[in-house]
């Protein structure tokens, strides 16, 4: 109880919000080390996952690699990469660590999204005379998007929580008050930092949950019995879908 109120007092203390290690600066660092690696990971994993999902080839290899990547201890990897890259390249080492952490969920989301599509729908699209690219962009990508965003959601959550360890190699972030607080036995700072990480994670998760809902296709949502407002019978209405 005292610890919790101590943590809130610590958070409310204006001293924590000034200086080079002000909490909002750390918050931005945390966000930076989350979003940059996730973006890099997406640039690698999404095209790869789509290629696997579309062709049905390489799935076993992807599952094996993703499983192995999940099992890597992030902290050990970070320390190892800092040693390999040299101490002058700590940010790069951190980004690479978090990219590797983010890839498995994104990869799985990308190919699982395609695999979840009824094969008959893809077959019909091909039989109508769609090219493979048209099948990809007009059928598979739109229908696979909700699961991809689901994969994005879990990789963002994993990374935002793990970025806390960046403070161990002096890269700041919200891990700083946690790590320094531990060594100084200032547990209200530890808890305060942890609370901020949790709040950041919850906010990001809520935003991505909204995004996940937004990308679900109207026709699919309608199929689950939800009410989808009828669109006016105009030509501009059809413009919302590529097709």
């Amino acid at each position: 109880m005292n610890l919790l109120s101590g943590a809130f007092d610590w958070l409310a203390d204006p001293a924590q919000w000034t200086g080079p290690n002000a909490l909002h600066v750390l918050l931005w660092q945390q966000l930076f080390y989350t979003l940059v690696p996730v973006a890099v990971a997406a640039a690698i994993a999404v095209p790869l996952g789509w290629a696997i999902g579309h062709t049905g080839r390489g799935r076993d290899a992807a599952v094996a690699v993703a499983g192995a990547a999940r099992a890597l201890p992030s902290f050990g990897l970070l320390v190892l990469l800092v040693l390999v890259f040299g101490v002058l390249h700590k940010p790069e080492a951190a980004v690479v660590t978090f990219v590797i952490l983010a890839i498995p969920s994104l990869l799985a989301g990308a190919y699982a999204g395609f695999e979840a599509i009824d094969r008959r729908v893809v077959d019909a699209a091909r039989a109508m005379g769609m090219t493979e690219w048209q099948i990809l962009w007009r059928v598979e990508v739109p229908l696979g998007l909700p699961l991809l965003v689901g994969g994005l959601r879990s990789s963002v959550l994993q990374v935002v929580a793990t970025v806390t360890i960046a403070a161990y190699v002096n890269l700041g972030g919200l891990g700083l008050p946690i790590i320094t607080g531990l060594s100084l036995r200032r547990y209200e700072a530890v808890l305060g930092g942890a609370i901020l990480v949790a709040v950041l994670a919850l906010v990001l998760d809520a935003l991505l949950a909204l995004a996940q809902r937004a990308v679900e296709q109207r026709g699919v949502r309608a199929g689950r019995g939800e009410i989808v407002t009828a669109r006016p019978e105009t030509d501009s209405a059809t413009a919302t879908h590529p097709g």
């Binding site: 729908v121 019909a124 005379g129 026709g219 699919v220």
Partner: protein, 273 residues
Amino acid sequence: MIEFRDVTKRFPGGTTAVDGFDLVIPSHKTTVFVGSSGCGKTTLLRMINRMVEPTSGTVLIDDEDVASRPAVALRRSIGYVMQNSGLLPHFTVAENIGTVPRLNGGTRRAARARALELMEVVGLDRTMADRYPSQLSGGQQQRVGVARGLAADPNILLMDEPFGAVDPIVRAELQQELLRLQRELDKTVVFVTHDIDEAFLLGDQVVILAAGAKRLQVGSPSEIIEAPADEFVAAFIGTERGKRELRVKQTANGPVLVDAEGRTQGVLVEGGA
């Protein structure tokens, strides 16, 4: 005219779905492939629009080998209607029907106009144009599927058990609708079914197939019913079990025809056609 010349299809793994198949499918008629599941009838159908490539032999449309035409262009020129409609769930009814016109480079406006026109042709209310497939009944979805197959005004319409997943009443309705459409549109229809009654109802030419797409008998429904090629065909079409037997029964109003179960099927007209 569609022609199969010595067509064989072996799938990786060793199954021979089609073995040395020959057939001529006349233009502007309905040809029905009928046989039990796994007999290769769908494989035959899908070789016409290159969804399946034959291992050997050729498939010709108007004396041109389909393999010499790019698959995508070929498929856009042939209507395809499948079981469970295969509609794109994220496209509205109008967008689904207008897919091929759009692929062929038509404007959105033109594709929509064509879709609305076809909805009328297949008996769908225009107010459904902006609904999604999941908001339609099975029968309505099949009508959308037929409309989509007709959208680019193809000469050939391939139908793969299109009415297999709807209830018997809707199925009968859709069959009548297809007969009406065919009278109006005069397409070359190739239809696949496992239902012999459907085959006899819709087909001008009926092809009865056994495993490996072996031709058991080819002919008009009358020819097959009047002279089944062998006992298997007779059993398959039900003449052996007396299913197709009709007896004359005298009534106060003249002779009528009664089926094996005693139900009156029609009135006997002497000297009729």
